[in-house]
């Protein structure tokens, strides 16, 4: 009888299997996902090297204690539960049991203790983002193999433990302890606890990962993930359309002008999202800047500039609607702390009002049509917007002189330098407010100048706001914190220290054969990387082994769509060139003199 039931059960499964993945209801197992990414570093140790790009695959290989959800709430990663005691000075974490490192050794609280102590030691010579918090840890206790208790000198928020950019991902103690981490071979052959294991890499061009079948939350659906490097967004997109890769990660994106076409594409699709960093034009409040540019001190001039930039048109025509506008010292994506009044306070595009404000403020147009000169320094990553912002300001009568510096250089010259923005009146850059509103304090609190590690390079000073930021950082109750942040956001916004434009954006594109690909949040933040991605052509039953060398022909090639109107006009242009060449050739180069 039992045997018959088993046979009937199996038969049912076999018969029903083809129907179970209709419309992707039931995730299927197997397949290789080839993702295009942008990186140029051959280093897989998230503590030593992290960037917006490496977060992508570090989250496949490693886990942290906690991580963010898509709405910026906090959830546990390696931590099953936690307790905050002593008014925010003690953090006790209960870890998941049965977690193993990729080499089979068990993960325990000893690893966590070693990791944070290592960070503390490392912070003396190498900067890491968790540095300031880690310095503050007085002691780390491990009463048993699955409990870690951090005792700090000062009050901290839970978000401080989530917040790292890679250094919060736990490294294996048994492989790194006692060695010089900078030259460890495990920087190139990483061992983590995550859903994917490192298999191999080829310079900075390829990174191959394999499913970790013993992942503590269950094996990932995919068998393999391969990351492939592209230097340019254009080549990445060409590869995606040619079927060479299956997806393009948010680190690479696709060129803006192609977005409308890809949205209509049959086999692939694209999505953008705005996240918690804000793109803003900011004003310099330093004394030397205000002396040279007295208009900076006048709030009506700043207001006028805010009204002179048409954010919605830019969003629609330049950014193709892939993100949202925002207003205020932190992003409107942090919904729980964002005051609704700011939605009304967001200035609308009004050229006439802007002109009037500037005229009334005592800056009429002079003979050459301009009211005053202003230098605008732009960070490389926002180079797309630079000429657009300049154009709007020129139209309202401000003679803008552009300077564009590459991302790192800009940060080093202005953001992190002790004299901040120096005497330059305007800057177009991002303000990394981060997933927790407390981070906006490092941008707008008067004490958080670059010299002490803050990011207030515009030297904005508002004592009322300072008080509220201070109060909020030591407030443990979530509702009360939310209230405080809502208040400070309104107060800062009323002062127009910046013209906040958009939430910074990322673009993700993928072949529709793969489900759950887009992370819709900054790569660092989402735990477990590609774990939930599955392939619609997989199998319903999980295999117990993962094939090691798999020919990469799993995805059907997407038929390429030819570029727009290339044939006729381009051929005409080339024909002209050829005719010119022939013409020159056929016209003799003159007869040589007779000897």
């Amino acid at each position: 009888m039992k045997n018959q039931l088993v046979i009937i059960g199996l038969a049912a499964l076999v018969l029903l299997a083809p129907f179970s993945h209709v419309n992707g209801l039931e995730p299927l197992y197997g397949g290789t996902l080839r993702v295009g990414f942008a990186t140029s570093k051959e280093m897989f140790n998230p503590t030593l090297h992290y960037s917006g790009v490496s977060g992508l695959f570090h989250r496949d290989i490693f886990n942290g204690l906690l991580s963010w959800t898509i709405d910026y709430d906090i959830e546990g990663d390696l931590a099953k539960s936690w307790e905050i005691r002593d008014g925010g000075k003690t953090f006790a974490f209960q870890l998941f049991q049965g977690v193993k490192w990729h080499d089979g050794k068990p993960f325990t609280s000893a690893d966590v203790k070693w990791h944070y102590e290592m960070l503390k030691e490392l912070g003396k010579t190498t900067p890491t983002p968790l540095g300031p918090y880690v310095k503050d840890i007085e002691s780390i206790e491990v009463p048993d193999e699955y409990t870690v208790i951090f005792k700090c000198r000062n009050v901290h928020q839970l978000s401080d433990w989530v917040g790292g950019y890679g250094d919060n991902l736990i490294l294996p103690k048994h492989l790194f302890e006692g060695t010089d981490m900078r030259t460890s071979p495990y920087n190139l052959k990483p061992i983590g606890t995550g859903p994917f294991k490192y298999v191999s890499h080829q310079g900075t061009e390829y990174l191959r990962l394999q499913a970790n079948l013993e992942y503590f939350r269950g094996r990932p659906y995919l068998d393999e993930v391969v990351y492939r490097f592209y230097a340019k967004t254009e080549t990445g997109l060409i590869a995606l359309e040619a079927g060479e890769i299956d997806a393009i990660s948010q680190t690479l994106g696709i060129p803006f002008p192609e977005i409308p076409r890809i949205k209509q594409h049959e086999k692939i699709t694209v999505e953008g999202f705005g996240y918690d960093t804000v793109i803003r034009v900011y004003f310099n409040f330093r004394e030397e800047a205000q002396k040279k540019n007295p208009w900076l001190a006048d709030i009506n001039v700043r207001k006028a500039i805010a009204h002179a930039i048409d954010k919605n048109t830019i969003l629609e025509k330049v950014l193709y609607g892939i993100t949202t506008t925002t207003w205020g010292p932190f992003s409107n994506r942090l919904k729980w702390a964002y005051p609704s009044e700011l939605y009304e306070m967001e200035p609308k595009y009004d050229l006439k009002l802007a002109e009037k404000l500037l005229d009334d403020a005592g800056y009429p147009r002079k003979a050459d049509g301009f009211r005053f000169k202003a230098k605008l320094t732009v960070i490389g990553s926002q180079a797309v917007l630079a000429p657009v912002v300049k154009d709007y300001l020129v139209k309202v009568g401000i003679d803008v002189d552009l300077e564009v510096l590459e991302h790192t250089t800009w940060l080093a010259t202005y953001f992190n330098a002790p004299d901040g923005l120096k005497d330059i009146p305007l800057a177009l850059a991002i303000g990394g407010t981060g997933p927790d509103p407390s981070k906006s304090g490092t941008l707008y609190h008067s004490k958080m100048v670059p010299a002490v590690g803050g990011e207030n390079c515009q030297f904005y000073n508002n004592p009322e706001a300072d008080k509220l930021y201070d109060a909020a950082s030591s407030e443990m109750d979530k509702t009360k914190r939310a209230d405080l942040y809502k208040k400070v956001a309104v107060i800062v916004a009323k002062d127009y220290p910046c013209v906040w434009l958009f939430n910074n954006y990322k673009i993700e594109a993928w072949n529709k054969d793969f489900m759950n690909f887009p992370r819709r949040m900054y790569a660092f933040w989402k735990k477990e990387g590609q774990k939930d991605v599955w392939w619609t052509k997989g199998k319903p039953l999980a295999t117990t082994t993962v094939p090691t060398t798999r020919p990469v022909t799993t995805t059907s090639a997407v038929t390429p769509t030819p570029p727009a109107a290339m044939p006729i006009e381009l051929i005409a242009a080339i024909a002209v060139l050829v005719v010119a060449a022939a013409g020159i050739a056929l016209w003799k180069r003159g007869k040589p003199p007779k000897t």
Binding site: P387, A564, A565, R589
Partner: protein, 291 residues
Amino acid sequence: MIKLKIGTSKRALLDFWRRYRKNRAAVVGFLGVALALFIAVCAHVVYPYDPFGMRLQEAGQSYVTPSSEHVMGTDQFGRDVFGRTLYGIRTSLFVGVSAALISALLGITLGAIAGYKGGVTDEIIMRAVDANLTIPTFFLALVIVAMFGSSISFVALVIGFTMWPSTSRLIRAEFLLFKEQTFVESARAVGCGDAHIIFREILPNAIFPAVVNLSLQIAMAILDEVSLSFLGLGDPNQISLGMMLNEAMPSFRRAWWLGVFPGLVISALVISFNLVGDGINDALNPHLKER
């Protein structure tokens, strides 16, 4: 080999022009250069509209295909490509000519001194030339511009500075041959100073290679400037053909006209200057043509 003192007589110039004119390719080049110079100077007359202004507020201005209204189409901000190309020619020519002139100035001066004085001075200058010829000069220019700033005049200066060695070698060679000639001896006997001899006696005869080289150097300088701005190291307040190509890349498949026209124009500019340089060379040295 005896070098004769050549007077810049009217007859000589006419001869030169006659020989040059026979070379059709060179004439084409000359026309190209003349056209480019005309555009560079009179761009704002030929195209009286604003090439910088964006037209995002108006509908349907972005990515217009080449038509009667916009001969080369528009880019994503609604800016007319034809107008921008004209202004781009102005930028390229400004940098090209300035850089070549700077290179000529440095090259001629240093080459003359090295050739005439000889000895230690010559050695030092030649070592500098060798060193300069060893360094991949574009790398050098790239580094300097990235670090010190990318304003248009500075870029011209840097490019000029990387180009002077070839000119100086030519001039030096000429000077080495000339300084033994009798007319130089006699000038010295009469009591003329070194500077006078260098600049008044020898230089007018020795300068031809540099003149020939000038056109070719302008061509090289234009390519250098275009390459630098293509890599993003151009002046963001100017319109540069290289930067237009850089901006065209993401849109190339959607709007091929953004990349094709600036590239064609760059090629045309460089070809013209190369043809002129070749033409001058051929016209000056007719004995090298045979059969």
